[in-house]
Each structure stands twice: as C-alpha cells, then as structure tokens.
Symmetry: C2
Subunit: 421 residues, 2 copies
C-alpha cells in the first residue's frame, strides 16, 4: 500500500496541499522519487478568492479542488488525508492520526492562519477568513443577520444586526468590504422589501493611516475613494481593543454595536507549526536559511506562510507568490540533491516581486506591477483575467468566469443559501 | 414590518418553500392579497437532483436557490425564515420560533421526509436522501471511505469500507446506484493509484421483485440490465432487517459488512406535520377533501407530499408533479374565494398523470409518457432537457448544463471536497 512499497526510491513527504505544497509535487513530476502529499483536507483551496465565498459570489466548490484530481496523471504522488500531529526528527518520520510516514526529504508547507494577537473576545466572537469553514461561516452569518433584521421591530437591535465591521486595511479587508457593499446595496437591497437599507452600515477599520500599505500612494487614495463611493465608512488610525459579540470597543472608548466583526488584521503560521520542533521567529513562522532549510534540519524544507525567510532585512510577506516561487525553488533543490549536487553548491533562494493587486468591486481594482500603476475598469479586468488563469482546472475557470459575467451584467448573487451551522 | 402592516388585504400564509409552496405564491402574484411564505431554510431545493449532490456531480448551490431571489419582483410576498412549531386553529395563527403569524388562508406545503418504518439501526447509521444536509453527508462519507481504504492494510476492513448499499428500487435508489457506479468506476478509479477497484461493491437492494415498479415492464428490464452493466449488484425480493453501522442484516440471516447504507426505500410526510393538529392517514399525510382542504378546517389547504389525496381509490404518490398541480389548483381556489365564489362552486382537484422517468447514468435513462416508452441515449437526453428547463433560473441552468457536458465528455466530477462534518 502506497508509501510502504518503496522500491528504494527516495521518499519526499510534503505537508500541506496549498499553493506551495502542490507546486513542489508538480515540480517533481519527472523526478525518480515517491511523493506523499499530506493534508487534513482532501482539497486544494484557492485562497485569494475566499472572500468571494464569504460574500456569496462563488460556491465553495468553485475555489476548492480535489487534490487527487490534480495528481490524477502524476503516478509518483500518493495523497494522504491525515492530521499531522508532530515530527520525529531522529527517525525522520511525520506523525499523523493515521500512522507514521517516514521521509528522506520533508517539505513543510502548512500555510497561515488568522492572528488575533491574543485578543480573546475577537477570536471567540469575530470571524477570521483564512479557510473554507470560516468563509462559509461569514456567509451564513451575514445572511442570517438580514433574515433576523427583516422581522425585528426594535430599531437599535436592527441597526446592530445590520452593522458589519471589517478590521484590517490590507487586500483581504479591502476586498471583503467592497464585496460586502455590493452584496448588500446591489443584491439584498432588492429582496428585503420591508427593510430600510439606510439602517445598514459597513465599516472598515485600520490601525495605521492608510489602506493597502504596500501600494503606491496614488492607488491607496483611489482605493479609499472607491470604497467611500461604495458607502463603506473608512476608519483609519483606529485600534480595536475588545469585542463581546454585541459591542466592539475601540481604543479611546468608542463603542460600535455590531454582531459582525470580520478580522482581517493579522496572519501567523498555522498552530500546527508550533508542534513540529522547528525554530520559530515572528508570526511563529519557522526560521529558514537561504536554501529554505529549517535551522539545524537540512532534510526539512519550509516554504510559504510557514517560512520566516529574511530578504533585504525583512521577512517576506505571507502571500501566494512567495509560496509559489519558494516551491519551484525547493523542487529544483531536491532534484539537485538527487543528482548528488550538495545544497551549498546550488543557488540560494531570492524572491522576485511580481507586483500587487486588489479588487474593490465591480469595475474597480488597483494593480501595481513594476512601474505600472492601473486603477478602475482595466485594473479590474486585469485582476479578473489573472485570477481566472490561475484557477487550476478548465471547468472551474469556466464556471467562475460565467458567474462573474452574470454578476456583472445582472447584479445578482445566487450563492446565498444558509447551510447548517 | 411586513405581515403586520396588513392594509386589510386578506393574508395568505404558506408553510414550506418547496415545489408546492413556491408555486402557490407565484400563482397569487396578481391577487390582491398579502402573502407570507415561511420556511426553515432560506432556499428552495430542487429535490430531483439531490442524488447528484450526494454523488459529487453537482454543487449544493446548483440545486438550492434563495427564496427571496425567486420573489424579488413579486412585492406581495414576504418571506420569513422560521421554524414552525404548531398551529392555533382557533385564532388562525401559525406558531413559529420567531413569533405568531396569523392568516386568513393557510397552505400547508411542508413536504416529505425519509421513512425508516421504525428501524432504529437504519435511521441511526444509515443515510436518508430527502434534504441537502443528508445529500452532503452522503458525499462526505463516501469520499471519506475511499480515503480511509487507501491506507487500510486489512483487506476485510477495506472491502467493508468499499461496499456501498442502496436500499429501495424506486427512482431515487436506481438513480443513486447508477450515479455511484459512475463516480466510483469512472472517476475515483483513476485517482486512487493504490486501490484495487475489484474490491469495491455497489448493491441495490429491493424488497419486491422489480425495479421502478410504476414503469412498464420493458423499461424495468432495461433498467435492470443497464445497472448490471454498470457493475451494480441487484438484489430483488430481499428485505433489510437491521443495520449497526458495520453490518447490514437481511431477512433470512445474510449479513453484508458495509459502512454505507443509503436508505431510499420509504417516504412519509415531515414530522412537523404531526404537530399541526390535522387528521392524518397513511405515511402520516394529512387527509384532504376533493378541494385539498384539511378535514374540518376549510381555511387550511394541504398539498404535495403532506397531503393524503385519494384518487381512483389510492392516495396520490409523493412526487413533484402532484405538488405542482395541486399548488396551481389551490392558487386558483383562493382567487375564487377572494371573488366570493364558494369552494363548493369550484372545480374539485384531479391529478393528470404526466408520466415517469429515471436516469441510470451516462446515456442511459427510461422515460414513460402516455403510450411513449423510450430508453437509452434519447431517454437520457430528454431527461436532461426536462430537468434543465425546470431548474429555476438561467444561471443555474447554464452552470448545470455546462457541468453535465463536462462530465459527459471528460468523465470527471469536481464537486468532491469533503466539508466539515
């Protein structure tokens, strides 16, 4: 059975089937190795569109794709759906809830999770947006608030139900706030015949004095203006101090009554990484050297959100392009090692910035690539194209493209069922 | 707020947003009434394709459509997402978990549920297939069985994991068994590189001596042959007596080790109907007169699976066409009553048989309409067309059509993610 029948080929174990893990396995398609790819889910998630699931634009199945389908033709990959519980570095084995899986080379690509910075109230009552469960919970919750508000006679209670706060002015926060605005003012608006949509409120709260901090100032301002036009209240230089599910408290004492706090203000590596016996740095990411090897563990590569790789004096950001480039690099390194080329004879990793983009809604996005800055319709068209091309298989591309066209022309979102909670 | 602002127009309350409830509300689009449509879910479910969700052919969102979107343009409909808990017949009010809703005319269209005929083991460990949660549970479970089997070293345990039993030889059972066969032998087959698919087994168990009892014999036999060609083991004249989650016992003592029993062998009205204080008959359906009024309650109409309507000496079957025709009839009756035409002056209801069909898989279906009997590819094409036309909105139609074409030409099913259980 699978990884047991080793035929003496080197065994590469990859933990995590995100952007990084999947690309390492693909990069080793023609290598003379056996690969075991482990994930606790049976699907690969296209995280950049998660916010569209949360705001009822896309189905779960549009952005989640079975891992086995990806590797249908690649016979050297054996998928294992399992929960990793730890590493045994001495015997070089991954410990899982379905048994031990031993490796010659290990790639840790476990990804990131929401960082609440120890704020327990926010963690308990707020919503993160890093995985499918969280995105579906947001969708269910937002739709439920409208259902409750539609027959709530008390205006204050109704206003609290219809107040949606997004915390964090990065791409996830901006995209979520924009998408929420379109869901509420263009779709739900037509369907709740008794509700006064003047009672609805969307606020985007950011601790610093800017949105999309990594963008040029010109695009930051365009983002701000677009969101304001979309009736999103922007609160800059404001910090959240507490939340109890009903009332959000800001530094300085201001209180906003709301049942919905979406927390997009921080990321960290997944908690699993804490159990793997690797040296960790800020955001609890594993420290790696210039070859992406964990400290003191040359047979363990760490990539993506899980890796603390310092370049130009700063750790690389937790974004998909970093994971993708590191994955390609590690696949090459492993192939080099198989050919007897020591890691120190190989090229160290260096990240090439591919630019930045964020969509704010219909016809509105900002794109920054090299010296090119675009905003508005063409940025939106470019953003849509790039994301569709990146989606893994033809069918998902077609379905997503069709849904987007439909939304574009008909202003409708159909993915609005409230599932079991 | 909604149903409170009555303007003295008669208030029609409809419980259930299935085929029946939705069509009553639509039929009253131009009537001078206020309508409150109550359902515990915020979506209308296209039940005939539920088995395709269970077998990973379609997404949840493809067959579930928000009720509010259906009535976006129909301003006299007010939707209320609520759990009905009872009726107060004296004051003519529906009791819900969100308050009382009083009516002048009530339509009970609460639908059907799985009937386990008191077999507790089957109810606890088996899977029904009457609602979205059940269908998603089946999908998750079947896929999980393959994941577990892929690293299970014990052959007997593996065989039990890979044995799938469908009980009930009606359309749901036949369609499920056929779809399971295609999922397993055409899709999963290519993805579990270590599994021997000779160990897999699909059995369809039926207590009588025929499949699709309401079809002409010629089509019954075609169905049987097609299923056998699809490697479904057909067990006729066999009754299930017990199931404990591991072992299914048949009358006579035969035991089949299996972790998956899909129960499609019985329907009844939903348990909610038992709480409504209406006279009930077989399958716990509410007894209605020739005008679809509940016994002794002229202001309460009951339609669809919930109604025990006797025609030609037998109660009408629990199928969508009955609900749809009864809904149209009740909408007309209510319009007549509004014009002062007593119910006894109106035409009694009579069901017109629209024929029968079932699909067994790719290129294979059976259709019986009037004296026309078709099987094979053209029956399958006809079945596909009818179901696509019936799906409520354009977008769903297009997405479903595209997915079917994709499955047809590429033999793939993408809707295979295992969601949280």
């Amino acid at each position: 059975m699978g990884e047991q029948e080793k035929k003496n080929r080197p065994h590469v174990v990859i933990v995590g089937a995100g952007f990084g893990g999947v690309r390492v396995a693909r990069g080793l398609a023609k290598a003379d190795v056996d690969i075991t790819l482990i994930d606790r889910h049976n699907y690969h998630l296209f995280q950049p569109l998660l916010y569209q699931v949360a705001t009822a634009g896309l189905s779960v199945d549009d952005i989640a794709y079975p891992v086995r389908a990806i590797f249908k033709e690649q016979k050297n990959v054996n998928f294992r759906m399992a929960e990793v519980t730890g590493l045994d570095h001495d015997s070089k084995c991954v410990l899982t809830n379905t048994g031990r899986i031993c490796y010659d080379h290990l790639v840790v690509a476990v990804g990131g999770a929401t960082n609440y910075f120890g704020m327990e109230g926010v963690e308990t009552y707020g919503f993160g947006m890093k995985n499918l469960d969280e995105a579906v919970s947001i969708r269910n919750h937002v739709l439920k608030m409208f259902e409750l508000a539609s027959h709530e006679p008390d205006i204050d209670k109704r206003r609290a139900m219809l107040t949606f706060v997004v915390v964090g002015g990065g791409p996830t926060g901006v995209e979520s706030a924009g998408a929420l605005s379109e869901l509420i003012y263009h779709v739900l608006d037509h369907e709740y015949h008794n509700l006064n949509f003047k009672e609805a409120r969307i606020a985007l709260v950011e601790a610093s004095d800017k949105l999309l901090a990594s963008m040029p100032q010109e695009l930051q301002e365009a983002t701000l203006e677009t969101l304001i036009r979309k009736r999103v209240e922007i609160r800059l230089c404001v910090q959240v101090t507490d939340y109890d599910g009903q009332r959000m408290t800001l530094k300085g004492g201001e209180v906003i009554p709301t049942h919905t706090l979406i927390w997009a203000a921080g990321v960290r590596s997944v908690p699993l990484l804490d159990k793997l016996g690797l040296e960790q740095a800020s955001m609890r990411r594993a420290v790696v050297n210039e070859f992406l090897q964990a400290t003191g563990k040359p047979e363990v590569f760490v990539i993506g959100d899980a890796a603390h790789f310092v370049q130009d004096g700063r750790p690389l950001p937790m974004i998909a392009p970093v994971a993708i480039q590191q994955a390609a690099h590690v696949a090459k390194s492993i192939k080099g090692l198989l050919k007897g080329k020591a890691i120190t004879e190989q090229k160290p990793f260096a990240y090439k910035d591919v630019g930045n983009m964020a969509t704010i809604g219909r016809n509105a996005a900002v794109v920054h690539v090299g010296s090119i800055k675009i905003k508005g319709f063409w940025a939106w068209a470019f953003w849509s194209l790039v994301h569709i091309l990146r989606l893994i298989d033809f069918r998902n591309k077609m379905v997503v493209f069709m849904k987007w066209m439909w939304d574009y022309f008909v202003y409708e979102r159909v993915v609005r069922i409230i599932t079991r909670q």
